[in-house]
Amino acid sequence: MLEFAAPLLALADILALADNLALADNAPWVLAGCVVSCALYARGWRAIRARGRASRERFCGWRCVAFFAAWLVMLVALASPLDREAERALAAHMVQHLLLTMIVPPLFWLASPAMPCLFGLPRALRLEVVGPIIAAPAVRTLLRIATNPIVGWIAMALVTLGWHVPAIYQLALREPAWHRVEHASMLAAGLLFWLPVVEPFPYRRRWPRLAMVPYLVAADFSNTIVAAYLAFSGAIAYRWYADIGAARGIDALQDQHLAAGIMWVPGSIIYLLPAMAITATRFLAKGSFGVRAPQQPRELSLPVLQRAPARETPRDLLRIPVIGALLRQPRVRLGLRLAMLALAALIAIDGIVGPQDAPMNLAGTLPWTHWRGFAVVAILAVANAACMACPLIAPRSVLRRWITPTRTWPAALRSKWIAGALIVAWLVAYEAFDLWSSPWATAFILIGFVVAATAVDLLFEGASFCRFVCPIGQYQMLLSTVAPREVRALDADVCARCETHDCLKGRPSTVANTPTLPGCGLGLFVPKKDGNLDCTFCLDCVSACPHENIGIVAVVPGASLARAAWSSGIGTLANRFDIGVLATIFTTGAIANAAGMSAPIVQILDEIATARAISPALLQGSFVVVAMLGGALLLASAAVAVQDAPFIQRFNRIALASIPLGASVWLVHFGFHFITGWPTGEAAIRRVLHDLALSSDAPDRILSCCVVPPNWLVPAEFLALSLGLAAALGVLWWSIDAMLRRRDGARTSSSKTTSTTTPARVTIAWIAPAIALIALWSMMAWVVLQPMEMRGTSGFGS
């Protein structure tokens, strides 16, 4: 078991080391940009090369190398000791500027990054967001102006001359924000300047190629002016270096002369080499005299932005070697659930017989800190992996070999009301009774869930517990509506020809002495299903399909929420009031749950409880209910403001649109616990091993509730919230568009009038509910800025 904890310890050490090294403020962000950008390029580059020989020739290997090299040089310039040295020596600063303006941009353009980076984007993002924006006349005009060589030349001259004016230069040294502006402007000017020189595909040539010679030589003049000023000036240009240079034993004037030399000699060479190369290519190439330059494309055209037919077979997660093959096996999936059940049993036993200090008990740490954080990340990054590995349904999967349920779930209870009520009860109990701080309570909740799930599913057919009762399952399924993958039919035509519908009904196994392959226990018919709602990713449908036509494929996260259309097993989502209420509970509950751990709320509740002699448990529980009701009222009032559809439909659409925001709040909340509370798992595991006499080491971090939040955590939380709110507002816009079009469709078919749904109308109808969602976001933003109070665990403030 200690080996199991070793990676956690190693991770802790790495994080602590990173914190101690105190990386440059911008370093993690530069690195993140580098990783995302390189991954996009590599993905797109590979995809383009797969399109044929011409593409392979155009995007040959050295272009990829150039892209990586550009990023490497950028990291050396911005996130290496050079960045630090640049503040102490002018020569180092000059090298940094040289890299940003003269090395990174040409390398970047040599990689012809437009097509690969666009191709690397998810298809939906490329075609639905980037495509329409780039095609907009205003954007095209802007691009046309920005890519004019004159603009690039002026920009380069301005940054070269402007940033070397002593007052401006010293301002950048003094204020990090201005320093970043300086570097960004240098990089931007460099990119604009080098674009017509390198002419990356699909750049359209504006000037004759030979015009680039005076263009480059003239640019060298501004470079020479600054270099000459620094070289021949008898005085120190920048006072900052005079003070520091003296203390470091460096002659500041010599440093200035060295900087001038770097700027003058290598700088001029970088300008003049391409000028010479262009001249040589033009005049020395065989037969080039009098021959016109090759025809350039008249329009800036990016074929990747044009709508191409969808791929015949979508990329399926279940076709990934090894993992896909394993996941397709029912026994492997059952094994996964049984392993999780064994872990749950271990946690429950420790919860009952172990010490009742939550941070020292498996039941006080693993389910609350680690599992919740892991589950939310896994669901939002891939799909509903949490339900797939659910230990609660493991006993039923085994026992159903001998016990076949015959009853069907009562028609009156076939809704989400029970699950919704249980989620509210769960949130209230969590706050009122501090469930996370009681290993004993946690153990009995776990046992209760397993018993309830087994009893319900042995009495009633299908997966009635998951579909109608399980509050955890409903929470996870709502989260997975914004997941990037969905269980879907790979080829609609195969499903159209299928007459057996085994994915729904199940079928006998073709292997002797093996149990029947069940169909979807939640009543979802795969070809008619839209979105992840009610899908537990049990993958029974995958095993049951005789055509191997079901997979886990990429979808646009949240698109099914915007459509709110008819789906198998659910009906029309926009008309399901119970699901609308469930979505409201999901979002408002997330905010209430997070607010309950913020110090000001805890303090106010404690003060009220003391002053009015009210039970703190009652007060905390009431706070959750009141906060959720407040949020629900906000969404309902926004629904009143929108017209053109029945109230229930309007409310449901707004509530469904709030799910991405709710998901980001859960991510922020559980992610915070996961990151700051991960050592508790190690302490609890050490304690268990020590108690079992498997290790002589007693836990050395007793009651280690939390590590200090790293500096990047709060900005990352706000970024997650920003993404959540932006996604929610986007879903809302498309949902209102769908609602108005549906109404228009009904009107036009009856009265032969034309549709009145315009983007402007949609946007006007969007404003009121958008304000409601922004109000919910602002509440969560306030919570994130507050110090956190971890009641029930060891002391941790802010």
């Binding site: 390189c38 639905e128 003094r174 034993g249 939380e717 983007p759």
Partner: protein
């Protein structure tokens, strides 16, 4: 048939080799990045607040941020120093904070961050040899109220405005094209 199969196997092996090569290249790049990153240093900016001669050599003190406010303030000593070098900060009302200067990942600099918790006038003393007042450098420091926390977080906090603007533009364009 066998020849075809052989060719297919060679093609597959080629593809695997190409992917392995690309992966190795990416890994090498990432390792290089890691090496570069691990040597990177603290936040930049600041202002020279003191220069003079101590321990027989020129010395300077840089503090960051340039306009200190309540919270962490970094003191960097550039010049000669000995182990045990200290920075001592005393507020007008008597509150005193002390820290040990430690080598910084640049040149021979030493630095220390102190959490200055009060607004107002502080007297700072940097003792580069840790032997008391003889070699100490003294200078005053005015510490202002801390800036509102959102002022440092606004790019992440309001990133949604840019995202919504982009999304709205795209949606508008898409629906306009669809309707026309």
């Amino acid at each position: 048939m066998n020849a075809q199969r052989g060719q297919r196997i060679v093609r597959r092996a080629d593809r695997v080799f190409m992917h392995a090569r690309a992966l190795a290249f990416m890994l090498a790049c990432m390792l290089a990045l890691e090496a570069v990153m691990s040597a990177a240093s603290l936040a930049d900016g600041g202002i020279v607040v003191w220069t003079g001669e101590r321990m027989g050599a020129r010395a300077a003190v840089i503090i960051a941020p340039a306009a200190p406010s309540v919270g962490e303030v970094e003191f960097a000593w550039i010049g000669a120093w000995k182990a045990g070098a200290l920075v001592h900060a005393q507020h007008l009302d008597g509150l005193a904070i002390e820290g040990v200067l430690a080598p910084a990942p640049i040149g021979s600099e030493v630095r220390c961050s102190l959490a200055l918790t009060k607004v107002g006038h502080w007297d700072i003393t940097i003792d580069p040899d840790g032997n008391g007042d003889a070699q100490a450098a003294r200078f005053p420091l005015e510490v202002s109220d801390p800036p509102a926390r959102w002022t440092t977080l606004w790019p992440a906090m309001f990133a949604w405005i840019a995202l919504v603007a982009i999304g709205l533009t795209a949606a508008w364009r898409k629906t306009t094209r669809r309707d026309s």
